[in-house]
Symmetry: C2
Subunit: 208 residues, 2 copies
């Protein structure tokens, strides 16, 4: 049994959806962000970084979306969520996921998490203003350089599709129109119709 | 034959050092950051993100340090640079590397790359001021929560040691005294004495 610590609207949605695609034996532990439970003493024992996702496994706790996604894929090979037997293709997939984690998610975080990097309220506001521009630049790069079609990595569906779907879902809130990126928009629409995505979205909505 | 695109002082040092530890068949392609060659039309064909590292392999180009490090470890198993046969331990290692990439490197980047996230010069200066505090917080977390000893992940050396060594090397320039973190400081001193590290450092120094 796996337990995923998650919060509505967070990138932990990707791990949640990957567990669903993997048909994993898992349960959810929702943190209440209104009570900043992710920084409670109890949760910091699980993840000292005070963030989600955290996946509690029989061996210990895993954090960080790219690491969790590969773990779910490797431990549920029947679901075919990653090119497990091809180190180059696996690294290629992980490079995409790492870009989402360290560049795209970080660009987005400057909207509401500016106090991680500055104290000055005017600087926090300056960060917030630039988010539509940086997110547009990131998705332009994804659209023109990385998205192969029909799935992110080409013919084979992978956890990169799940992760991209998650972050594409943030664009409207970042004042970026996904329609500017036709391939990404079609990908998002296609996955939005998937029963597994709709199940996970309904579970999020029920606690949000 | 592998070709690593790199720049002095960049995080590509980790991939360079991993290739050395792996005894890989590789060559270096140095980009001149004074001429911003990383954003030249020629280099953007190799890595549209305009950053290093980029590892050119017979199958194509790989980017992003965590992905490259796992690739080097998987394709050079004799070097024992990662727990390749244990999905949990591999994910645990990748979680550490992802934290370095998406949190610690990002904290550091607010010193000299602030224009990625704001336009206002005062905001860029506000970001720069907070870097010693954020880098201290990151390394405090590494010291107390993640570093197991004698190596990052415990008994076995891994690419996480190479990656941590790389970023620890930035602390002095970020006005943080590594001596505040005794375990990290000892780790850095031990690796600094390694002949492979000294070879790679000399190669960087020759072009810097």
């Amino acid at each position: 049994m796996l337990t995923l610590y998650t919060m509505p609207g967070s990138c932990a949605f990707a791990s949640h959806l990957a567990l669903e695609y993997a048909k994993a034996d898992y349960r959810l532990a929702w943190l209440d962000f209104r009570r900043t439970e992710q920084r409670s003493a109890e949760y910091l024992k699980i993840n000292p970084k005070g963030r989600v996702p955290a996946l509690v496994t029989p061996r210990g706790v895993l954090t960080e979306t790219p690491a969790i996604l590969q773990y779910i894929a490797q431990t549920h090979p029947a679901a075919k969520l990653a090119p497990l037997d091809d180190p180059f293709a696996l690294a290629d997939m992980n490079a995409f996921n790492s870009y989402l984690c360290s560049t795209v998610h970080v660009a987005h975080a400057h909207k509401t998490r500016g106090n991680r990097w500055v104290d000055d309220p005017a600087a926090i506001e300056a960060m917030r203003r630039k988010v539509p521009e940086t997110m547009t630049a990131c998705f332009q790069t994804i659209e023109t350089e990385f998205f192969r079609g029909p799935w992110v990595m080409g013919e084979a569906f992978s956890v990169s599709d799940i992760y991209l779907f998650t972050i594409t879902g943030w664009l409207a809130g970042d004042s970026v129109d996904v329609a500017r990126f036709p391939k990404v928009a079609a990908h998002h629409a296609q996955l939005s119709a998937d029963a597994r995505v709709q199940k996970v979205q309904a579970e999020v909505k029920a606690v949000a």
